[in-house]
């Protein structure tokens, strides 16, 4: 056997190991969701059941948490995507020297432990709402969770949108201006459509990060609950295959999402390949025309 094949096999083995580590526990957990014993076990497989899904469905606290999680997720999108967009535009226009300080302030929440964000959010809004007399409106679990999560999710959005914005061709903006557009028109007609893919991915990332956040939310949610805090309570109390059932559902949705994404991507690629083909044909026709008839 040549050293090449040995290396290839080693790489293959390593990748299998890596993904085994990544997926193994999830697969085992999924099996336990369909197994009858009340202690979640993959082996021995005593009997197939869907009972744990039913139990999950009847779990009131979890369903309440789910609704709150969705509300919070939407709230986080509404706060952090516009903020991220505004921040990336401001960052793009800000002077060089001020930019690094601004960057540090805005990106620091990404590096701050979530626990600390949660604590600081609660303390600030407790005092602020008291001072301004807005306690009944603002000092609520759902509101604080949205604020706390947005503080770092907005930074994710900033980074995602910024990456796209940096590829924006300033000439596009100038072309629109030159044709008589006002600056706001440039924003709505040219810049926003250009940023659309980034805004969509920022929204998706924002929702997912919000939905699965634990560290910040567990503090910020106060007396309310989200799906994740309910789950945490359940796991702390003991283990039931109903949790595995929930995981199966989430994994299923994730896989469906991944497949949909892949299909969309492929479709887009085919479309752009088709356009490029068209352009190439036109190019050839042009050249032929230019040679035959140098008008």
């Amino acid at each position: 056997m040549s050293s090449q094949t040995i290396i290839k096999m080693m790489i293959g083995f390593y990748i299998c190991l890596f993904f085994g580590y990544l997926f193994g526990p999830l697969v085992v957990m999924s099996i336990t969701a369909f197994n009858t014993p009340s202690y979640p076990a993959a082996y021995p497989f005593e009997g197939f059941t869907l009972g744990w899904f039913v139990k999950l469905w009847n779990h009131r606290a979890m369903m309440e948490g789910l609704v709150n999680s969705i509300i919070i997720g939407i709230g986080v999108i509404c706060v952090s995507v516009p903020v991220g967009l505004a921040a990336s535009i401001v960052m793009n226009q800000i002077y060089h020297r001020a930019r690094s300080l601004y960057y540090l302030v805005t990106v620091s929440p990404v590096l701050t432990p979530g626990v600390i964000i949660g604590i600081s959010t609660v303390i600030f809004w407790r005092d602020f709402s008291e001072m301004t007399g807005t306690r009944p409106i603002l000092y609520k679990g759902i509101v604080l969770a949205i604020f706390g999560q947005s503080s770092f999710i907005a930074a994710y959005c900033l980074l995602i949108i910024m990456a796209r914005l940096q590829r924006f061709d300033r000439a596009q903006e100038e072309a629109a201006l030159d044709l008589g557009a006002s600056y706001p028109q440039v924003f709505w007609h040219i810049l926003l459509p250009f940023l659309r893919p980034a805004l969509i991915s920022a929204s998706v990332i924002a929702f997912l990060s919000s939905f699965e956040n634990y560290n910040t939310t567990t503090f910020a949610i106060l007396a309310d609950k989200t799906l994740v805090t309910v789950l945490a309570g359940e796991v702390r109390q003991g283990t039931t295959p109903a949790l595995s059932a929930l995981a199966v559902i989430i994994i299923g949705i994730s896989l469906a999402g991944a497949i949909a994404y892949e299909v969309m991507k492929r479709h887009e690629e085919r479309q752009s390949a088709k356009n490029a083909m068209q352009a190439k044909i036109a190019e050839q026709a042009d050249l032929a025309h230019a040679v035959v008839a140098p008008a």
Partner: protein, 333 residues
């Protein structure tokens, strides 16, 4: 009083910002420059500024400052706050070192603090070792399609939330879990191994939780490396480990720094893994902070501890960046 004074700080920062912008403007006159409001229109400009101001002030800066400010206050009932008993004090920080009850050294908390930081550092190195080969393979050897598939394979497990991931590991590692079943079934051990009690669960859980955070920065950094450089090094007869040590790693240093910083910060601040995969005797620092809030209801002390953790993490990260000569700016990008 101190609660109101806090508002001065952001305004000071804004003033510094403006001064810097003015200075720069005078220093480098740029005829292309348009004023912010001219470039965005008045209405949009105001909306942008308002959004950014709301975020940086109300969601980031002021909460931090309030937390710090809270940590210098005594624990009081709501009625006493702002009253004569509400004095600035270092009591909360002192209590980290010396037990306020009996004046003895607070060994438990100091130990938990050190333990959290050391374990986080160890988990960071472990994840680097696990992820580097994969990131390198994806960036340099894999075909486009294969890389996209691997990417999806990496991301999908992270759509399952942290708690359930911890739960799945617990199913593996618990005394009745699959691994113990296998070990006993093969006759390697007689009784179950207490993976959760001896902290193996914690280590695995932390590493498992932040694999992705390490892979992506590494991948991004290695990906932009010109393949010819590696070829050239190989042609010169460099052994594979030297190629990595002398060519790839120096090039990918910002990515390595970024991945390591993220994993370290996240794991030092993690709550789920120690809560669900730690044993009964495991003392993780964030768990202690959590308990101050939810069991002792001592917010000032919790805030002081949280601030200590943040300060220590930042100091450590800065130290590492200095040692490896990477600037913070490079890391975040």
């Amino acid at each position: 009083m101190s609660r109101l004074l806090v508002y001065l700080i952001p305004f000071l920062v804004i003033a510094i910002f403006m001064a810097m912008a003015r200075y720069e403007r005078r220093f480098a006159h740029d005829p292309t420059h348009r004023g912010f409001f001219e470039r965005n229109g008045t209405v949009l400009g105001i909306v942008f500024i308002a959004l950014v101001a709301f975020w940086t002030l109300f969601l980031v800066v002021l909460p931090y400052l309030y937390m710090v400010q809270e940590s210098f206050h005594p624990k009081l009932v709501a009625a006493d706050r702002g009253g004569p008993k509400d004095l600035l004090t270092l009591e909360q920080y002192r209590s980290f070192f010396i037990q306020p009850s009996d004046g003895s050294v607070n060994g438990t908390h100091i130990w938990a603090f050190g333990f959290s930081l050391v374990v986080s550092a160890a988990v960071t190195s472990l994840n680097f070792a696990i992820c580097y080969p994969l990131a390198y393979y994806m960036a340099q050897a894999g075909s486009v399609q294969k890389v996209r598939l691997l990417m999806l394979g990496l991301i999908v497990p992270y759509w399952v939330n942290e708690i359930l991931r911890a739960f799945s590991l617990r199913l593996m590692l618990a005394s009745k879990g699959l691994i113990n079943q296998i070990l006993m079934g093969l006759g390697i051990t007689d009784g179950p191994v207490d993976f959760l009690g001896n902290n193996v669960g914690l280590y695995v859980g932390l590493s498992y939780a932040y694999l992705l955070v390490m892979v992506f920065p590494l991948y991004n950094a290695v990906e932009s490396l010109d393949k010819n450089q590696i070829e050239a090094a190989r042609d010169l007869g460099a052994p594979w480990w030297r190629i990595h040590k002398d060519v790839v790693m120096p090039y990918a240093k910002p990515g390595i720094a970024s991945g390591c910083t993220m994993v370290f910060m996240l794991s030092a601040g993690s709550l789920a893994a120690p809560q669900f995969l730690g044993g009964p005797k495991t003392l993780w620092f964030t768990s202690i902070v959590y308990d101050f809030f939810f069991q002792a209801f001592n917010w000032p002390r919790g805030a002081a501890y949280a601030f200590l953790l943040l300060a220590a993490c930042i100091a450590l990260v800065m130290l590492m960046l200095r040692l490896f000569k990477v600037s913070l700016g490079e890391t975040i990008k």
